[in-house]
Amino acid sequence: MNVFKHLFSTYRTVYLWFWAVMALFVLAIVLSFVVFGPYIENVMDASVWQGAAGAAPRWFVFVIGIMLATVNLTVVIASGITRRAYFAAVFAFTLATAALFEVASLAGFGVERAGFATQGLTGFLPVDYPLNSWNAAASYTGEAFLALWGFMLSGWAIGLLFYRLRVWYAILLIPVGLGPIIGGGSLPPLIGQGARIVTLTVGLALATALGFLLVRSAPVRPKKA
């Protein structure tokens, strides 16, 4: 629990900054509808937030995952924490981050929908808009949460690959570390949601197993001068 708290206190400020920027982005969208709404009716056929929330947070947590392996690992282990305890804390922290980010992402959809509603443009929202129905919300949230978690664990696994192995071995193993990203980012247009969730879950399991294998005997190397 101490390690989880430590990770949360280390990243809370950067999380707040990220969501502050995202909030400005969603407010700009809403403002553009309020001001220019009537003029964009015929060109607007998709949710801007759906695109933004489906990409920026995922790549952001991917980078945080890399940092968990390359920045935090040495400091935490050098502070008298076992690798197993750190792995458990990372697992919980990535899970909590994915949940937190998904809640914030849903809030963004709420603000965007309200923006559309002020101009009576809700009819222009896409058919699969997450807030169109409870079912759509649940379906979107479940998959998006898994994708976020997957991106973060993928970053962690890839960071560990480069921390532990020689660069060519790490490059060769990147496809295993990228499992959740392939499941959560590249396949969606090609296959159905059921298959996507199965792919995501398999990718998550692969990245988790790879992360555990790599961290359990990781040395704490000195920093390079």
């Binding site: 708290k5 206190s9 040495t74 008298g80 076992t82 040395p219 704490v220 000195p222």
Partner: protein, 293 residues
């Protein structure tokens, strides 16, 4: 905390950093770990702190293997010259990490040490000078109050007043909170008075493990008129000589017998203790040249 090392080996590729090292420390003392560059000091400390898993052999800290042993590693603190803190964070965050992660962390003591070493909590670690970074390592090491605390060349960048402040703090805190310290250093003479026992390693092997006083007894400094000193030491192993005008001081290796002591006094020579550094140089050179002591 006691330390037991048996036939310890650590291999990097085709290089043996540690090559069948064995020794035993009872704990509750200040130990000096000496060795030349590349002798295996850092590798040894890394294995003791469970930073690395040994290739073979056994390490027992208080009777238990440290690697992935939560009960043991939580009682160990190794401070390296490179520093294991977040470079892009402020000093305050480093202290917060200590408070959150270290079992025996003493926040008040950490604050006091920061003041003593004139470190600001608001400064970012990467903006600190090399000496200030070393001082931050000292703060973390001492405030961790870990039952086994090890410093690996961790104060090299500090200026002389800061280093002496460290020695004072180390001794004061050791007296107030007795625990095991292992100090690896090249500044032997500066810290020699702190060591209760000395371990010397070379090329991954143990050269010597002895109490400091007994080790100093392995040599004698002979001071007096240059010609008299030269005559007296002619048949002895001379580790080093210094001449000032007509006076000469020669450091010899080996104990003098009663007859030699009497002869020295009759010749008007002064006998004194030998510098640990001179013995270290002699012993490691002898090891490198394969001389049997």
């Amino acid at each position: 905390m006691s330390i037991e090392v048996r036939d310890l080996r650590l291999r990097f590729g085709d290089v043996d950093a540690l090559d069948g090292l064995s020794f035993s420390l009872a704990g509750g003392k200040i130990y000096g770990l000496l060795g030349r560059n590349g002798s295996g000091k850092t590798s040894l400390l890394s294995v003791l702190a469970a930073f690395r898993r040994p290739t073979s052999g056994e390490v027992l800290i208080n009777g238990a293997e440290p690697f992935e042993n939560a009960g043991v590693v939580s009682q160990i603190c190794l401070i390296r010259e490179s520093g294991d803190v977040y470079d892009n964070e402020r000093v305050a965050s480093v202290l917060r990490a200590g408070r959150q992660l270290r079992r025996d962390w003493d926040s008040d003591y950490a604050e006091k040490l920061l003041e003593r070493f004139q470190l600001s909590t608001k400064k970012r670690v990467q903006s600190l000078s090399r000496g200030q970074k070393s001082a931050l390592g000292i703060v973390v090491g001492l405030a961790s109050r870990a039952p086994l605390t090890m410093f690996d060349e961790s104060y090299l960048g500090m200026d002389a007043p800061s280093r002496y402040a460290f020695y004072e703090e180390l001794l004061a805190d050791y007296t107030a909170h007795p625990r095991t310290f292992v100090i690896s250093t090249h500044l032997i003479e500066e810290v020699a008075s702190l060591f209760e026992e000395v371990i010397i390693i070379d090329r991954g092997r143990l050269v010597l493990h002895e109490e400091s006083d007994a080790l100093r007894g392995r040599g004698v400094t002979v001071t007096g008129p240059a010609d008299v000193v030269d005559t007296f030491v002619a048949s002895l192993t001379v580790l080093g000589q210094q001449t000032l005008g007509r006076t000469k001081a020669a450091t010899i290796y080996g104990e003098l017998n009663d007859t030699q002591v009497r002869a020295a006094k009759l010749a008007g020579l002064e006998l004194g203790p030998v510098a640990l550094q001179d013995l270290f140089v002699h012993l490691t050179r002898a090891e490198a040249e394969g001389i049997v002591r």
